[in-house]
């Protein structure tokens, strides 16, 4: 068990990186508290797997250090770090039985066979593999194999962190939910730090206490699912999380007044921007409503999503989405919309204005 600190981490796959764009990971400072359930969320190619491999020791960072509590593990190989990793595609040792698979990490470390036996039984019971212990691992279904991968991680008692790299990719949809609840349950039971990498916001938000959102090699926000939803620190977070994502509209700021399409807009964080910064306002579709006065919009499309409808409108050539309850009316013509000022925010160069870049 350990607290994991990433200290000024940078990584490039190039031998001699020159510009900032050459880095797959750009300046990262993150602390993962002991026993936390974290999700690492971001689109494909944002550096999630790179970061994971640096923590596990499969990759050595170009710059910066990795700390497990007070130990600098940057130069330690994976097996010396006491970590476990579950990969996107199930890794099982085909020729072995489920029992031998689970016992493998212990036997490699020369653990006494009676200890191996009791430990494997315990883990098999936790991961619902008891009935299959003496089957060949290659004969199991994808979710069974993923449980074996997970079990091999859990079987060692000294594991500091268990990392999951999009572990549900090959699992049937109806089993995804089951396996996810199993993970959550296991986390409660064993209290080991878990880091769950995914590009699926539902997986991230349901699994994690804290979600780390990555974009283009940077961590843009760390927060609880509620924080990410209610107060995105970056337009990317607003857009990436939520369905549909946050409306991001170009704005102009002059003398403390913020305008969109020539109409003044009230925001939660009115700040004067420095010259040259790009101003945008962000408001989630949940907080846009039809009103008698406000911004004139043209309604383009209405999609029924069951309990609510998603209205896609546009004003001044920019798209604005609204979520409208099924009992509310949608005006036929001359529609105008207004934003909930407490949930409308000003962004400067993509970052929440007044708070600046970084975490």
């Amino acid at each position: 068990m350990a607290r994991i600190t990433l200290d000024n981490l940078r990584h490039s796959y190039l031998r001699a990186p020159k510009s900032r764009d050459d880095y797959a990971l750009k300046q990262l400072n993150v602390a993962w508290e002991d026993g936390g359930a974290y999700a690492l969320l971001g689109p494909s190619g944002c550096g999630k797997t790179t970061l994971l491999n640096i923590i596990s020791g499969l990759l050595r960072p170009s710059e910066g250090r990795v700390w497990f509590d007070d130990d600098d593990v940057t130069d330690l190989p994976p097996d010396a770090r006491h970590i476990a990793q579950v990969f996107q595609f199930p890794v099982v040792y085909d020729t072995m039985t489920v029992f031998d698979n689970l016992a493998f990490p212990l036997r490699n470390r020369g653990v006494n066979e009676t200890v191996v036996k009791s430990r494997v039984q315990e883990i098999a019971e936790m991961t619902d593999l008891t009935a299959m212990l003496h089957q060949r691992a290659s004969g199991l279904t994808a979710d069974g194999k993923q449980k074996i991968s997970l079990g091999r991680g859990l079987v060692r008692e000294d594991v500091n962190v268990i990392m999951f790299d999009e572990p549900l990719t090959v699992i049937d949809p109806h089993l995804k939910w089951q396996l996810r609840s199993k993970l959550k349950e296991l986390h409660h039971r064993i209290q080991t730090t878990m880091i769950y990498v995914t590009h699926d916001q539902t997986e991230a938000l349901t699994f994690a206490d804290q979600v780390v959102v990555m974009h283009d090699g940077e961590v843009v926000q760390i927060g609880t699912p509620v924080e990410l939803f209610e107060r995105p620190k970056h337009t990317f977070v607003g857009h990436f999380i939520g369905s549909p994502g946050m409306n991001v509209l170009p704005a102009s700021v002059a003398n403390g007044a913020i305008h969109f399409a020539g109409i003044p807009v009230d925001v939660d964080n009115p700040v004067d921007l420095t010259a040259g910064q790009t101003a945008e306002i962000g408001v989630r579709p949940e907080f846009v409503r039809f009103s008698d006065d406000g911004i004139a919009v043209e309604i383009n499309k209405i999609s029924d999503a069951g309990r609510y409808r998603v209205v896609s409108a546009s004003a001044d050539g920019h798209r604005i989405n609204l979520l409208i309850g099924e009992d509310q009316d949608i005006p036929a013509a001359g529609a105008r919309v207004a934003f909930d000022a407490t949930q409308t925010r000003l962004y400067a160069d993509g970052w929440l204005a007044g708070e600046g870049a970084g975490q």
């Binding site: 596990s56 970590i83 476990a84 890794v91 040792y93 020729t95 990490p105 490699n108 091999r152």
Partner: protein, 288 residues
Amino acid sequence: MTTKVENQKGWLFVLPVVILVAFNAVIPLMTVVNYSVQETFGDNVFFFEGVKWFEQVLNSERFHAALGRQLFFTFTILLIEIPLGVIIALTMPRKGPWVSVCLVLMALPLLIPWNVVGAMWNIFALPDIGLLGKTLNAMGIDYNFTRQPVSAWMTLIAMDVWHWTSLVVLLAYAGLSSIPDAYYQAAKIDGASSWAVFRHIQLPKMKRVLTIAVLLRFMDSFNIYTEPFVLTGGGPGNSTTLLSIDLVKTALGQFDLGPAAAMSIIYFLIILLLSWVFYTVMTRGEEN
């Protein structure tokens, strides 16, 4: 009511291949079967002899000796080429610019015509002018493959290893390349030794291609003719006369068509039987 209308046109599509196989395999094989039960003294006059030739071949010491040499040759080269091929494949780079260099180097021996391989090794090993033969003799080793059976065998085996290990390497390498990185990463995390990685990841993943490699090398080496014929012609004496060379001597040297035909069939059945044994043993325990 539903009637199942069978479309017979599909047969037309397989017809060309049936004709091809008939002419190139079935008809010649039947001719051999035909010869194997008859005796001829020329003039296209044949007498039916039943299983006489089969009995003669099976009881012939000459056949036993050739079969013994053949089995020794095949198992020796399998024992060398399969492990060596796997070891070379394991040491080959997995990515980077050297991959294609290695692959081309490995493919080279396979691209050389078989009789050229025989001729090359013949000249290479000649004790008076060949690089290998002369060097060995200069080092004080008494080596002459045209006179000493042991030298002839060494040369024959070295030639086959040189010529065919590449095939095993390429197949094993293909098997290794199909292993996703995650397996190696998981093994690292699980603290597996490199032996454990080989034993539990690489070998199982290579098993299918190795089965093919063993079968191909078994069948090819059991059928081998051109290279030893060019290298030693079966000599000195009969010491490197393998089955195929013996067969050609019987059929075309002595014109004993009946015994040669019976021998061909026995030869064919041995290959079929041993291939089946190899395949069954190597794929045993595989489910699905």
